[in-house]
Assembly symmetry: C2
Homo-oligomer: 331 residues x 2
C-alpha cells in the first residue's frame, strides 16, 4: 500500500473487508446504507477516544477496534438483541501510519464478523485525536422481544454473568506498569490487562438470558452498583446486594490490596466490565444459569429486587456497606 492513505483508499479497504448480512441490501459505497429490518430494531451509539478509553501508544490497533465494537455490542447484549449492522465513524490523525490504519480497519471488520454483525457503513474524518464512534443496530429474534431495563418486579433474584473487577484491576496494572503485586504472575497480568484493553461483549449470554425470561437487564459499564441503580430506577424497585456473593475475577484481591481498596468495593465500582446484570423471575433462574453456562460463562445470584425506594443497598454479612461511587465518563 502506498504511503498516505486517502479517505477513499481507506473506505475501499473497509469495503473489501466488511462482512455483510442478509438484511443489508447496500453497504459501503452509496450516500447511505440500505437495510431491511424484519421488525423492531435496537440502536446504540458508543465512542472511544485516545487517551480516555484507550491509549494508542499501548493498545494494538486490533485491541482498539475490539474495544470500540465491544462497548456498542455490549449495549445490544443487554437488550438480548442479535447484532445486525455496525457503522463506524472514525476520527483519524493526519499522517497516521498506514500499517496502523490498515490494521485498525481489518480489526474492525474482524471484530464485527466475530459477533455476526455486518459492517454496513461509516465516515472517516481528520481529527487531532484518534476516536471511533460505533453505531450498532440489533434485531429481536422472532420469538421474543428485547429486554429493557425497566421490566423488573419486586422479589426477583438479581444475577451477574462472569466475574467482575477484572477491568479495573487491568487498568490499575497498566497504570502501574513497573509494579506487579504479589500473587499476580505474568499470565494473570496479561489476562487482567486484556480485560481492560480488549473486552468481550456478552452477546450470546445476553441472548440466552432473554430466552430464559430475564425481566430486566443492563451491561456493567459504569460499575455494578451504578448500573444496577439505573435498572432499579427504570424498573421502580429497590435492589439488595450481598457483597460476599460477588464473583470476583481472579487477581482482583491482590490488585485491590496493592491499591489499598477493599476488593469487594473495588469490584463494585469497576466500570467497563461489559458483563451483564439481570433480574429474573425465580422459576427461570435454573434454566438461565444452564443457558449462560453453555455460552462458556457463568451466572451468579448476588441479590434480590425489593419493593420500596429505587436504590441499591449493599450489605456484607448483614452489615450495610457505605455507598460505592459510580464512574461518570465526563468526570
Amino acid at each position: 500500500m502506498k504511503p498516505g492513505m486517502t479517505e477513499f483508499e481507506l473506505i475501499d479497504l473497509l469495503r473489501q473487508r466488511a462482512p455483510g448480512s442478509e438484511r443489508l441490501r447496500t453497504g459501503i459505497g452509496d450516500d447511505a446504507a440500505i437495510s431491511v429490518p424484519g421488525g423492531a430494531t435496537a440502536t446504540t451509539v458508543d465512542a472511544v477516544v485516545d487517551g480516555v478509553h484507550f491509549r494508542s501508544q499501548t493498545s494494538t490497533p486490533e485491541q482498539i477496534a475490539q474495544k470500540a465494537i465491544a462497548t456498542a455490542l455490549s449495549d445490544l447484549a443487554a437488550m438480548a438483541a442479535q447484532p445486525g449492522e455496525i457503522y463506524v465513524s472514525a476520527g483519524l490523525v493526519r499522517g497516521s501510519d498506514d500499517e496502523f490504519l490498515e490494521r485498525l480497519v481489518r480489526g474492525l471488520a474482524r471484530s464485527a464478523d466475530r459477533y455476526g454483525a455486518a459492517l454496513a457503513g461509516g465516515d472517516t474524518v481528520a481529527s487531532p485525536v484518534l476516536f471511533l464512534s460505533i453505531t450498532a443496530v440489533g434485531h429481536a429474534p422472532a420469538e421474543r422481544d428485547f429486554v429493557s431495563r425497566s421490566g423488573a418486579g419486586p422479589g426477583e433474584p438479581v444475577a451477574v454473568t462472569g466475574r467482575i473487577g477484572g477491568a479495573r484491576a487491568g487498568l490499575w496494572l497498566l497504570e502501574h506498569g513497573e509494579r506487579r503485586p504479589a500473587g499476580i504472575d505474568q499470565t494473570a497480568w496479561r489476562e487482567l490487562a486484556d480485560r481492560q484493553l480488549a473486552p468481550e461483549p456478552q452477546v450470546e449470554a445476553g441472548a440466552a438470558l432473554g430466552r430464559a425470561g430475564a425481566s430486566a437487564m443492563i451491561d456493567v459499564s459504569d460499575g455494578l452498583v451504578a448500573d444496577l441503580g439505573h435498572l432499579a430506577r427504570a424498573s421502580g424497585v429497590g435492589i439488595e446486594i450481598e457483597a460476599s456473593r460477588l464473583p470476583l475475577a481472579a487477581g482482583v484481591g491482590p490488585v485491590a490490596d496493592a491499591a489499598g481498596i477493599d476488593p469487594v468495593v473495588f469490584a463494585l465500582g469497576s466500570g467497563e466490565e461489559y458483563e451483564l446484570a439481570a433480574a429474573l423471575p425465580e422459576p427461570s433462574l435454573e434454566g438461565a444459569a444452564a443457558a449462560v453456562g453453555e455460552c462458556g460463562s457463568g451466572l451468579t445470584v448476588i441479590g434480590r429486587t425489593a419493593s420500596g425506594p429505587a436504590v441499591v443497598e449493599v450489605s456484607r454479612d448483614g452489615r450495610p456497606l457505605p455507598p460505592v461511587p459510580g464512574h461518570d465518563h465526563l468526570a
Copy 2:
C-alpha cells in the same frame, strides 16, 4: 443549572428536549433505542470535529449542532429518504462551559426537529477535542424506493439544486476576516459565512426529486466535480458539464477574484455545499424543476450523462477545462 454538568445531567437534558416520532418506541434512557421501521431503512454516519469542520471559537453552539445534523441529513436527502431517527455521539472537552453544552443540546434537538427527525439516542464521552458524530436513519416513502448513486443511464440531463460556490466563498471570507472584497457588503458576507457555518440539507428537494423520478442522486460534499465522479463511476456513465450553465451563488465572483481563482473552477471544487446533483430522464425534468421550485429552491440543468468512460468532463463554450481537484477530507 449547577456548574459542571455530569454525563447523566446532559443526557437528561437531551431526553427532555428530544423530539420523538411514531416509529420510535423507546428513545433515550435504555441501553439502546427501539424503533419499528415500516420497511427498508437508509443509514448514514457523519462526524464533525472542532478545528476541522468548524471552529468552536467562531461558531455558535447552535451553528455547530446545525452543521453536524446537516451533514448527515444531506446524505439522506441524496437518497430521497424521509429523516427518521438521529443518534448523537458527542466528544466533549472536560470543563466545557455549561451554557455552551446546554445550547449545543438544545440546538441538536431543534435542528433534528426542523427536519422531522426524532432524537433517539446517543453517547457523551470526554475528549480533548469537541466532536459530534451523527447517525441518521431514513425511511423510504411507501410509494417509491430510495434513489442511489448508481441508477443513471446514458443521455440523461444532469441537474443541481440551488446555487453553488457559496460554502467555499464563506470559508474564504471567514479565513480572511479583516479583508472584505469589493462587491461583498455586510449582508452578503453574513449569508456566505452562514452557508459555511450552518448549512441546510436539501431534505424536501431530495424527496421531490425522488418523486419526480430522478435516476441517480448525490449530495455535494466533496465538490461538484468530485461528487459527480462518484455518481459517474457508480452508474457506469460519463458526465459532460457545461461550465457556463453553473448556477453560481451570489458573491462567488468577487470572492473567487479576491482568491485569484476562476469563479467557475472555484465553485466546481467547493465542498460542503450540501446541494443535490441528480440525473433525470428527460421527460421527468419539467416536473422535477417545478417540484424543487415549490420547495423554495431551484433546479438547473448543467450537463448530461453519456455512454463511455465513467469520467466527468467540464467544458466552457466548447473548450475543455483542466481537471478540478476534489476535496479529500483526510488530506
